[in-house]
C-alpha cells in the first residue's frame, strides 16, 4: 500500500470513486442475479458487471498505474475488449439453451413457437 502514498490526490479521488462504483455495479448485477424472478430476467443482471462495472475498475487501474509509474499503462483495455467479445457467446448459448428447455417443457416464459419454416 506504500505506493499509493505517492499518488497525487487528483488521481486518487477518481481512482477511489471508480473502484467503488465499479464494485457497486458488480454487486448490483449480482444482487439482480439473486432477486430477479425469471431466468431471462436474471440473464440481464450480470451485464452490469461485465460492462460498466469492470469498465470502471479497468479505468481506475489504468489511471492508478499510469500515474504511479508515470507511463501509459493501457493493457487493461484488453480485458475490456475480451469481455465485450466473450460475454455474448456465453449469454447467447445460455439463452438459447433455456429457451429450448422452456419450449420443450411448455413453460409460459418461452415465446410462442413460430410455425416451422418450410424449407424448399
Amino acid at each position: 500500500m506504500s505506493q499509493a502514498a505517492d499518488l497525487p490526490l487528483w488521481a486518487a479521488l477518481p481512482v477511489a470513486m471508480l473502484l467503488v462504483v465499479g464494485a457497486g455495479l458488480a454487486l448490483a448485477g449480482s444482487i439482480g442475479l439473486v432477486t430477479l424472478k425469471s431466468f431471462y430476467d436474471r440473464m440481464h443482471a450480470p451485464t452490469l458487471g461485465t460492462t460498466l462495472g469492470i469498465g470502471s475498475i479497468l479505468i481506475a487501474s489504468m489511471l492508478y498505474f499510469s500515474v504511479l509509474q508515470t507511463r501509459f499503462v493501457l493493457h487493461e483495455i484488453l480485458i475490456g475488449a475480451f469481455m465485450v467479445v466473450t460475454t455474448p457467446v456465453t449469454l447467447m448459448l445460455l439463452a438459447r439453451a433455456a429457451l429450448y428447455r422452456d419450449e420443450r417443457e411448455g413453460n409460459p416464459d418461452a415465446p410462442p413457437r413460430r410455425p416451422p419454416p418450410t424449407k424448399d
Partner: protein, 163 residues
Amino acid sequence: MKRWFPYPLIGLGLALLWLLLTESVSTAAFLLATALALAGCGTLLRLRFPKARLRRLGSVPGLLRDVVVEVFRSNNAVARIILRPSREDARRSGFVRVPLDMRSPHGLAALACILTATPGTVWVDYDSTDGTMLLHVLDLIDEDAWVRIVKDRWERRLMEIFE
C-alpha cells in the same frame, strides 16, 4: 497485398494486442508484433474466417460513442430495476422478434456484442431463413419501439460499415 494482409484491421488489432501485452514499443516488439499478427491472420485464414468488405469506417467513432452512451444509460436503468424491487410488478419483460436485413456475419456479431453489452437486452436466437432475431428485453414497454431501436440505431449503421 490481399494475400499478405487478408484481414488488415484484425491484423492491426493483433499487433496492437501484442504491444499492449508486452507494454513495449521497441523495434523488437514491433517486429514480433508484425510477425505474430501475420501468423494470427494466417490461422484465421485457415479457419475460413469471413473477410469483411469494410466501408465507411468514418462512422465507426460515432457508433462507438453511441454504444458507450447507451451502455451508461441502460446500466443506470437496469440498476434501478434491480435495486428497486417495489416497482417489480409494474415491469414487464419479454421477447421481441426483430426482422433483420443484415446478413454479414461480422455485422451480426457486432450487433450481438452491442446488444449484449447494453444491459437490458439479450440476443437469444437468430433464424437465418428469414433473418429474424429473437431479443429478450428486461423492461419491455413497446415491442415495436424495440424493433425500431435495433434497426435504426444499430443495424442500419452496422450495415453501412459491413455491407
